[in-house]
Each structure stands twice: as C-alpha cells, then as structure tokens.
C-alpha cells in the first residue's frame, strides 16, 4: 500500500481545475474570488504538506494515472523541488490576487469577474501540472491551457491596447507551442515514447549509438526554442512588456511572477530528466542558453531604462531577470556541480516573490495617484501609501541585489556558480553590468516615488485621485507585508531553502 500523500499532487491539480469550472458557473465575482482564494490556500497547504513529507526523507515518487503502466499512460513525478515550487507558486498566486484585489474589481467588469477567476484557476492548474508532470505530452497540453488562460488574464482589463497586446502574445505563444509540439513529435518519432523516464533511456541510447543525431538535435532545439519563446527568452521577449504592462495588477503579477516560471520549470525538468546536461553541453545547447541569457539580462534592463510607464518598466525588468535564470541554466553542469541550476531555481523563487510585490505596490501607487502610470505623475505617491512605498523600495533593492534581500543571494550564487565554469569572466562582468543597469532604472523610480512633489502637481493629483482609492487598502497591505517578509526570508534564511533545492535537483 503506497502512502496516502502520493495523491496530493494530483489532488491539487484536480482541485484547481474543479474550482475553475465552478467559478465559471458562479454568478458573483466576490464568491468566485472567495472560492479561488480558498482553493489556492488549500493547494498551498497540500504542497507544503507534501514538501514536509518528501524533504526530510529526501525522496521522490512517480504517480501513474489510470491503469496504463509505463512506457504508456500518463504519470506525475514529485520531489522536494516540485513540492517547494508549487507551494510557493500557489502562495504567491493567492497573495497576488489579494494584493491586486481592489484594482481587479475596479478593472474587470462584474459580468466577467467569475470567468476571470476561472482563468486564474486554470493558470494555477497548468502551473501545477507543468511542475509535476512526468509526461511530455501532458506538458504540451498544459502549455496550451496556460497560454489560453494567460491571454485571458491579460485581456481581462478590457482596453484596446490590451487586446492588441493579447493577440500578439497569443500568436507568439502559438509559435512557441507549435515549435514545442513539432520537437515533441520528432522526439517521439525517433524514440517512440512520451514518458520522461523511457524517453531518457531512449535518448541516452541514441546519444550513445550516435544514430538519428540530426532529428534528436532538431527535437531538442525546437522544444527549447518553443519554451524559450513562451518564457520570453531574449530574442523573443518583445511581446512581454505590452502584455504584462497593460494587464490589471493581479494579472501582471501572476503572469510575470508565475506563468513564465511554469515553462521554465518544465524546461529544467526536460533538461535534467530527459536530455541530461552532459548531452546538452555536448550539443552546445547550454552555450546558446547562456548567451541568450546574458543578452537578455542586458537588453531587458536597457529597454527598462527607456520606459517611463512604471508597470511596463517592471515587465522589462522581468525580461532581464528571466535572462538571469537562463544564464544559470546555461552554466549547465559546471564541472559536475549543477550550481547554475540551483541558482536558477533559487532565482525563480526570488523573482516569483519580488515581481508580484513590485507589481502590487506599483498598482497601489498608481491607484493613489489617480491611476497615473508614468513615473513623473507618481512623485511622492509613497507618502500617500507608505506600505506600498516601502514594499516597492524593498523589491527594487532586492532586484538591484543589496545584501539581506533575496536578490543578493541569487546574485551571489550565480556568481559563484560561474566560477566553476569556463565562462567566468563574461558572466561576472555581465552580472556587474546588469546590476548597474538595474540601479539605473530602479533607483530613479524609487527616488521618484519618495520625492516631495511640487505644489501644483500635488494638487492636480489630489483632485484627480478618487477618495475611494486613497482610502486604506487592507488586503493590499496584508499581501504586501507578507511578500516583503518573503523577500527578507529569502535573503536571510536562504540556507535551508537552498538545501531543499539541492536535494530536489538531485532527485529530479
């Protein structure tokens, strides 16, 4: 008799989907909101419990769905890493909704609110599935699901620019998933399997025998390119700022905090579990990832410097942060220690914690400034809601990488990871450069929100801002505080977390 908690992953996915369906039939947005929050909380709890069961024992398990045994059928594989990630994802999702609550009900028309929450739940489900799945095709299906739901989240705030951003986002994602599907097919063609373990064996055999090298390489390239497009890897990042910048606060937070990460997690799983890092290094894939990552770090920040629209600026900085993650992946095996991988996983957590915080605070700040978004109009907004100001500052400092904040730790680990590879110099210099660039746009933003506005601007804002928005926002304050605390926890108590990640990576 297998232990009961092995059902938890499936259970949480199932819960999310059911909640989504229920939301669709619900009348009122409030109810849907409550239901969603409830489910996410429960899922967080379940994942935490799972983590509690897996991490001390240091084990991972495969959970076969239905009656089909491997190599057919459909399976879930859960280890400490997956449990940790899904716990964080669910928690952050809940906090993002909490933090963006007021904006959300302000931006989304009441009729659509239940559907919005349906999409949120679908996103949650696909995130969990992408994290847990042990089956490539399931991965594909959930990629598509998350594509649809993500597009819906963007266009929930029903403005023209948003629609267009959505359609561009949609087509980019379609490109991505198309490439992924083709790669998947080729892989299936040369191996004949879809379950990751069997795929891994087959790939290993092919790599050893050296036959079908071309289709194999093509498959790897296509799948990674597909996932790269969907997670806004450098050359394919142009769609992101508009999409994430325009959406309502909660959506932006979820999209750039979580959705992007889902694809990356799948990519990591594929890289480690199926293709294995040595093979990828031999194919030179890791170098490509590294280069794109480094370019992304720079390009994202550069485009962020040119932005004055605060949320688009944050979106651009997401591109840079994704660049960090890909750089970590590109460091690859690094003389046996997959340090880059660990650092990337940690940075996924950090970014998943900082970005929603930043987006929520930005939303709140612009709310108290009469929904202006450009930095010039946000002057002194921090004094109108101190918590938002502090939260934004903390997030920004963490992004710049000040000690005690999460960002510093991941920077530290990326740097040390680079030492155990042969690309130390370029990586370190790029890290330093991108730190400078981060400072170049985060510092002015922070200064802007904290600087006393001159009189007429203040009055102008006073009469444009509606008193309702200026009123104290409890839900936002709560989530902002929690997320801030999270940033500090990641910055100070990071050591156990890193242990979890390490064992999780080894158990992938």
């Amino acid at each position: 008799m297998r232990p009961l908690w092995e059902n938890l992953p499936f259970l949480s996915i199932f819960l999310a989907i059911t909640a989504g369906i229920l939301c669709a039939v619900l009348r009122s947005g409030k109810a849907a909101w409550r239901l969603t929050m409830l489910t996410t909380a429960v899922n967080t709890l379940l994942s935490a419990v799972l983590l509690g069961c897996l991490w001390p024992a240091g084990l991972s398990f495969v959970y076969t769905m239905g009656r089909f045994a491997a190599p057919y059928g459909n399976a879930i594989k859960a280890g400490p890493l997956q449990a940790l990630l899904s716990a964080v994802f669910c928690a952050v999702l809940a906090l993002a909704l909490e933090g963006g609550k007021r904006d959300l009900f302000h931006d989304v028309s009441p009729a659509r609110q239940p559907l919005y929450f349906t999409m949120v739940n679908m996103t949650a489900a696909s995130l969990l599935a992408l994290t847990y799945t042990n089956d490539v095709f399931t991965g594909y299906v959930f990629i598509e699901i998350s594509t649809i739901s993500a597009c819906a989240l963007v266009m929930a705030r029903d403005t023209g620019p948003n629609l267009i951003a959505t359609i561009r986002y949609l087509f980019m994602s379609l490109l991505g998933s198309g490439l992924f599907l083709l790669g998947l097919t080729l892989l299936n063609g040369v191996t004949g399997y879809l379950l990751m373990p069997s795929l891994a064996e087959a790939v290993a055999a092919l790599a050893a025998s050296g036959q079908y090298r071309l289709p194999l390489t093509a498959a790897v390239g296509l799948m990674i390119a597909g996932l790269g497009i969907k997670s806004a890897m450098f050359p394919f990042h142009l769609w992101l700022p508009a999409a994430h910048g325009g959406a309502t606060t909660a959506s932006s937070a979820i999209l750039s905090g979580l959705v992007l990460k889902g694809y990356i997690v799948l990519l990591i799983v594929l890289m480690v579990r199926v293709f294995t890092l040595p093979l990828l290094e031999e194919m030179g894939v890791t170098n490509v990832l590294l280069i794109f990552g480094l370019l992304g770090m720079v390009a994202g920040s550069v485009s962020a410097i040119r932005e004055h629209h605060i949320k688009r600026m944050l979106a651009c900085s997401s591109v840079a942060q994704i660049g960090y993650i890909f750089m970590g992946l590109g460091l690859g095996l690094g003389f046996g220690t997959a340090a880059g991988l660990t650092a990337s996983c940690f940075h996924i957590l950090v970014h998943a914690c900082c970005k929603p915080l930043l987006f929520c605070c930005a939303g709140r700040l612009s709310a108290v400034s009469g929904h202006h978004r450009s930095l010039r109009n946000l002057r002194g907004s921090a004094y109108r809601d101190a918590v938002a100001g502090v939260g934004f500052t903390v997030g920004a400092l963490s992004m710049i990488g000040i000690p005690l904040f999460g960002g510093f730790v991941s920077k530290l680990y990326f740097a040390s990871a680079s030492l155990s590879s042969d690309k130390t110099a370029v990586v370190l210099l790029t890290i330093a450069l991108s730190t400078v660039l981060n400072a170049l746009y985060y510092v002015p933003a922070v200064l802007a929100i904290w600087e006393q506005p001159d009189e007429e601007l203040r009055l102008h804002i006073q009469e444009t801002a509606d008193p309702a928005a200026l009123a104290f926002d409890r839900s936002f304050t709560v989530s902002a505080l929690i997320l801030t605390a999270g940033v500090f926890v990641l910055g100070i108590l990071y050591h156990p977390i890193l242990n979890v990640i390490n064992s999780g990576v080894s158990l992938l």
Binding site: G401, A415, A425, L440, V443, L447
Partner: protein, 495 residues
C-alpha cells in the same frame, strides 16, 4: 559581552528611526535627543575600541545575522577598525553640535538628523565589519542611508546630485562584488586576515584573472574614494548641506571607500600577491593621475565648496596612492593621511559652511575682505589651509612625509613619479587655498563696506566646534610621534 559590538551599530540606527517616526515638536527636545544619541554612540564605540585594544579583537566578536555556517554579518575590531572607528566616533559629535546650529536655515531637521544617526551606525558598521560580506553589506547600506542627506534640499540640483551619487556608488559596489565573490571562492577564509586570505593552492594558474579582478574591485571601491575617472559624483554632491559635505564627503563616506580598499589590498588579496604586478601599476597610475587632476580642477573652480570637494578628490588619492605601494610603510602613510585629512578637511568645510551661513557668499571671488569681519572663521580656515598644504609641524606634512618615504622605499619608478605628483599637488594646493586666504585678509579694489559691515562671525555654537576641530587637528599634529607609532603598529598587523 559577546553582543556588545552590536550596540554602537544598532543603537544609533534605532534612535534615528525613532526620530523619523516621532518627529519631536520642540527644537530643544530634538537637539537633546540627537546630541545624547550621538554622544552615547561615540562612547559605546570608543569603549569597544578601548576594550579591543586592551583584550584583543577576539574578546568581542559579535554576529549580527547568521546566514549559514560560513556566511554571516559579524563584527570584530582590529587595527584599521580602531583607526577608522575612532575617527568617526570622535568627529561625529563635534560636527553634530555644529550642524544642530547650521541645519536651522535648511529645514526638515527631523529627516536630516534621523538619517544622520542611521549613517553614523552604518559607518561604525563598516569600521567594525569582520569579513567582506559584512563590509559589503554596510557599504551598500551607507550609500542608501546617506542618500537622503545628499538630496536634503530636494531641489533640481540636489536630486541630480543624489541620483548621480547613488548610481556611482551602487555601480562601484557591483564591480567590487566581483572581487568579493572571487575572494570567497579563492580564499581560505572570509574573515579579514592581515596579509591576505588567498589560498596559494587554489590560485595557482589563475593569477592573471585574479589580478584583473583586483583592478575591477579596486575601481569599484575607488568610486566612493573618488578615484579618477569615477570622481564625478563628489563635486556635485557638495550641494548637500555643509555638515554632510564636511562629515560624509570629507571623512566618513569617502574614507569608507579608502578603508574598503585597505581591506581589499592588505586583508583580501594581500600585498605580496599584488606587489610588482601590472595591476599595481594600473591602480597606482590612476591614483597619481587623480592627485594632480583633483588639485588642478580645484584651482580652476570658483565655487568654494566645490573647490574643497575637488581638493578632497586629490587628497583621497594621496591615500589610495600610498595604499597601492603595497607595503606596510605605505599603509602607515595612508592611515596617517586618512586621520589628518579627515580632521583638516572637516574644519575647512565647516568654515565654508559658516561663511555661507554668515554671509551667504559661496564663490571665492566674493570673499574679498571677509577676514576682517569674520576673524574666528577665517582664522580657523587659515590654520587648516596651512595644515592641508603641509606646513610642518601641522597635520598635512606628517601624512605627506610618510607617504613619500614609503614611496621612496618601494624603489618603484612609478612611485617616484607619484612623489612628483605629490609635490605638484602641494604647489596647486597652496595656490587654491592661499587665494582664498589672501582674498579674505588682503582685499583688493573697491569693497562694499556697507555690506561688509553687516557681517559677523556666526554664533558660538558654530565657532566653538570650529575652534575645537582646529585645536584637535593641531594637537594631533603635535602628538604625531606616538600617533604614528600606533599607526605603524596597526599597519604591521601587530594589532
């Protein structure tokens, strides 16, 4: 006992935050609050230094935050800590007295003194940091906590200056970070160890990389020490209120840069590893260039505080130049000049501030004949000017002497050139300071006697600190024998 050192760090920070929150209504209450906090902090710090001197640094090692078995933010007092910490602890209260009076015409005193206290704690943190991680942490914190002070007046110039300051500093730290990462990975230990922590076994084969990394980190920390070409923020930052320019941009912050370089060279990479390498050549050349460049720019700058700022640029590079000699003698010279320059330059800046308060005149050519009207201020100014020029037995000479003799001992041609730069900058220093003195005392041409007649020395709460600083500087200079013996001991790692 084992948490004692956290006291001088946390106490002022807490008090500062308290001031930011409480915002006392009455001026007297605020002044008392600030004064008491500052004095207590200094006492804590000095007591800690005293104990460390008596019982050795290990007696009071203190861990503020422990990340993991190896990483922590921890405090320990060793030789350089004593020098830098004592410097801050002695100067801070004096300038605080001065600024309590001065800040009345600037306004927003609560905000100002709040961050004033916080940065005091952070500076002490830099002084007492035990390892590079802690140093880096306090270093970044210093930038952030002093930013509001620089931008105090919040007008366009101040905002620009503040932005420039924080960007320069953070970027510098970003490059210093590279060096720290390397030290973490190539060193035997994270803690500062006299003579360097590099592990010979591990660095074998990576020497060139490490040297480049060192250059990178040197310039990274050098940004705060305003080494050419990264000096740009300092003159602009002189729009800050005078106490800030005096204490932070003449002593605390910029010296923090120099202090970090001390840690980097003598306690991180190790002088023996660096001596005679191309890295040494690069950094030494940069320092020598800055020495001349700074004084030349100072001579051509009419704005009084900017001129002083440029002179700071040049004098800081005296220190950096001495450090790049990579020898204990050089370190002695650097520490000596660090001490004397801090006192002297603070006095000069405070005089400038008093002039601005008393007469509202900010440009050198406006100072014609002010000496007769403000004898106290210009008396202090003249004495300090002579000291900075390096007229024995006043302070500046001892530092210059130590640096130059260290340079001669180093038998390094570039160091000889550095001595030339030193002398040239002495000439320029004489010119750009004596022009002020001469204008003040020996006016030329038609004077607006009516306007002059209205001018007076500022109140005793400004002039007394001025006099105190001047006396302090002179006394230190006359006591240079024992002082330099102490610094020598520090520089040879026997403390």
């Amino acid at each position: 006992m084992h948490q004692y050192l956290s006291l001088p760090i946390l106490f002022p920070v807490v008090m500062g935050l308290g001031l930011l929150v409480v915002r006392p209504a009455r001026k007297l209450a605020r002044s008392r609050y600030v004064m008491v906090s500052v004095v207590l902090t200094s006492l804590f710090a000095l007591l800690g230094i005293q104990m460390a001197y008596r019982y050795g640094g290990d007696a009071l090692v203190c861990v503020l935050v422990r990340f993991s078995a190896s990483f922590s933010i921890s405090l320990r007092i060793d030789g350089p800590s004593m020098v830098y910490g004592a410097l801050a602890a002695v100067l801070w209260p004096v300038v605080t007295v001065y600024s309590l009076e001065y800040m009345e015409h600037e306004g927003h005193e609560d905000r100002f003194f709040g961050f004033w206290l916080i940065s005091f704690g952070v500076v002490l943190g830099i002084a007492f940091a035990e390892d590079f991680l802690s140093l880096y942490f306090f270093y970044e914190l210093l930038t952030l906590s002093t930013l509001p002070l620089v931008m105090h007046s919040m007008d366009e110039k101040a905002r620009y200056a503040g932005r420039k300051y924080v960007l320069y500093s953070l970027s510098g730290a970003a490059f210093a970070f590279i060096g720290i990462v390397f030290l973490l990975n190539f060193g035997t230990t994270l803690d500062f160890t006299y003579g360097g922590v590099l592990d010979p076994a591990r660095i074998a084969g990576n020497e060139t990389t490490l040297l480049w990394v060192f250059v990178c980190a040197f310039f990274g920390f050098g940004v705060k020490a305003a080494v050419f070409p990264f000096h740009g923020w300092l003159p602009d930052a002189s729009v800050a209120p005078t106490p800030v320019s005096a204490l932070l941009h003449a002593a605390a912050v910029v010296k923090a840069g120099a202090f970090a370089v001390i840690r980097l060279i003598y306690y991180g990479f190790g002088p023996d590893f660096l001596r005679g390498t191309f890295a040494q050549t690069i950094v030494m050349a940069a320092a020598a260039v800055t020495i001349v460049y700074g004084s030349a720019r100072a001579l051509r700058t009419p704005h009084l505080k900017r001129r002083l700022a440029f002179s700071t640029v040049s004098n800081l590079s005296y220190i950096l130049f001495a450090l790049t000699l990579m020898s204990p003698a050089g370190l002695t010279g650097a520490l000596t000049h660090m001490v004397y320059h801090a006192v002297i330059k603070i006095t000069l800046f405070c005089c400038a501030g008093s002039i601005i308060v008393g007469s509202g005149r900010e440009y050198v050519y406006e100072l014609e004949g002010l000496g007769q009207r403000m004898p106290a201020v210009f008396g202090c100014f003249t004495v300090s000017a002579l000291a900075l020029i390096g007229l024995p037995p006043l302070g500046g000479f001892a530092g210059k002497w130590m640096i130059a003799s260290a340079a001669v001992e180093s038998l390094n041609p570039l160091a000889y050139a550095g001595i030339g730069a030193l002398i040239l900058s002495t000439l320029l220093t004489t010119l750009y300071l004596m022009t002020i003195v001469v204008r003040a005392w020996f006016p030329v041409g038609e004077l607006d006697t009516a306007a002059l007649a209205r001018l007076r020395d500022p109140g005793p709460r400004m002039t007394v600190p001025l006099a105190a600083l001047t006396v302090l500087g002179t006394a230190l200079a006359l006591a240079s024998g024992p002082l330099i013996r102490f610094l020598w001991a520090v520089a040879h790692g026997s403390l």
